[in-house]
Symmetry: C2
Subunit: 341 residues, 2 copies
Amino acid sequence: MNIALDAMGGDHAPEAIVAGAVEAARIYGVTVSLVGKPDVVAAELKKYNVRGLDLPIVPATQVIEMDEKPAAAVRAKSDSSMVVGCKLVKSNAAQAFVSAGNTGGALAAGILHVGRIQGISRPALICPFPTLHGVCLILDIGANADVRPEHLQQFAMMGTIYARELLGVEQPTVRILSNGEEAGKGNQLVIDSFKLLEKTPSLRFEGNIESKEIPAGLADVVVTDGFTGNIFVKTAETTARLMSQVMREEIKKSPVALLGALLSRGAMGRVRERMDDSHYGGAVLLGLSSLVVVAHGRSNSLAVRHAIRVAKQAIEHEVPAKIQRGIAALAQPDERAEAAR
Amino acid sequence: MNIALDAMGGDHAPEAIVAGAVEAARIYGVTVSLVGKPDVVAAELKKYNVRGLDLPIVPATQVIEMDEKPAAAVRAKSDSSMVVGCKLVKSNAAQAFVSAGNTGGALAAGILHVGRIQGISRPALICPFPTLHGVCLILDIGANADVRPEHLQQFAMMGTIYARELLGVEQPTVRILSNGEEAGKGNQLVIDSFKLLEKTPSLRFEGNIESKEIPAGLADVVVTDGFTGNIFVKTAETTARLMSQVMREEIKKSPVALLGALLSRGAMGRVRERMDDSHYGGAVLLGLSSLVVVAHGRSNSLAVRHAIRVAKQAIEHEVPAKIQRGIAALAQPDERAEAAR
């Protein structure tokens, strides 16, 4: 198995990226192709004992920076690590591409150079969200700001397949993120999508869900447009970080509280582990003919390693092929209906 | 000053509601008219020493339950505490109505029985969100699931006036909640609203804001549609609560951590105080000719007391009259433009 990694993308590139690649190659036994400026990557690799690990360098002379306009940058920089990485996947030299760089760039490069599965109109970003009992998968978290009900239907199908494969849930439950649970609650998109998902037999659709019900584990898959989904995940991240910061501020004000915090450090470490998105390894762009994994821009080596793990698992479970079959099955009833007309 | 309070609405009604009313009357020196079933309210009032406090009971025989369909319930139950409370405000017998009951019901009763300010097409719910330096005001958090750019423009104007009056900021900054800061980021509503707000001279518009930038205090007012705003506030609430619960679970696992938690109890209390929405007293429905304050369904007596405080402050600052003048000024350029055609 060969996973292409954007060695140049991310706030902590190339250091954290190469470090994560070395960890992943060692722990998961995969080949990680480091795509980027050869001298830069080689200099990083020298810091580690990589004997026995398969970490080839794939040259790419350009870098799409974090603040560049995604679509324009992907078109202009054909020798960027993102474009070269996606082309490796397209040509089957690698089975997945992982990047912690410019998210829009990775999406654009993936859609343009890896290509969509036939029948999928909008690839979507899926990521896990922690619940009290495990995780729930939410999509789209940012690939499509404006969507139509038939897109949410495809998201629901892709999320169902992903949850079945990666969470091991036989019949994953699907809900639509809304501002109220009852049918008829939500904006027009939610109301129309509710009606469409309700009559999609291949889905175990259970209605709307409010964000406050997500931690209770009431849904395996939550679908939403990429604008709302993006605000949802960023708000959750932000609140967790705000709360940690407020806690640090208040604890510093009192020596007794500081001692208390020292004693509960172990427990707080486990809290961080359960809440920290580094362990989830980023979001997967579903709907392409091969896998693209988008890690957080601020990814540390742990997050990069987990992003590679996510790619490995999705490859092993043949997620793209299964989505291809799923979308064909989803299209069938409509085709029959059309043929009957 | 007379504030009408829905004594029957909320998860902890009537106990917590009446308790909050007693506290508010004592601390803020206002009259609180308790609207509800006279025998029920009188029985609650008997628990307190209310000598010298002005807590009249206003009879209303019906109750709009938490799970009723708002608009239908408001129409069907003309003697409900919500409808009676709003009518008290309409007739100027009271200057504001406060309810912790069915949010949709309070919105519907307010719009139907208090009435909109002329020129305001969509009243919006505004609430404070904690930042590291104070608060930012966000609207709409749930009154309008689907809106147009001109509605966001009105929300921006109402938010500006409210921030000027209640936060004491001379020229409040306004931003649009989006999934990216740059102009051109966002869904179609955000993109179109950006262009409209940019050319509204009475606003200090500073572009988009991502939810992750809100805690840094980069905006005094954040505008959004009621669907996104509702998901934003509920996700923040939920994450804070999820994090507290995960902390409790992990602390319980170790006696040392438990001791540590005991020592840092005071600091954690202050964290709760800064993060807990009970202290913010609920959301204000702006755009009506008088004030309606919607408190959280799970309000305890503290939250009810603070909701009454919020109403009192908004009355003192003559918020509805100032919004009326603001909307007239906002409409003027358009009228001139129309006259010039």
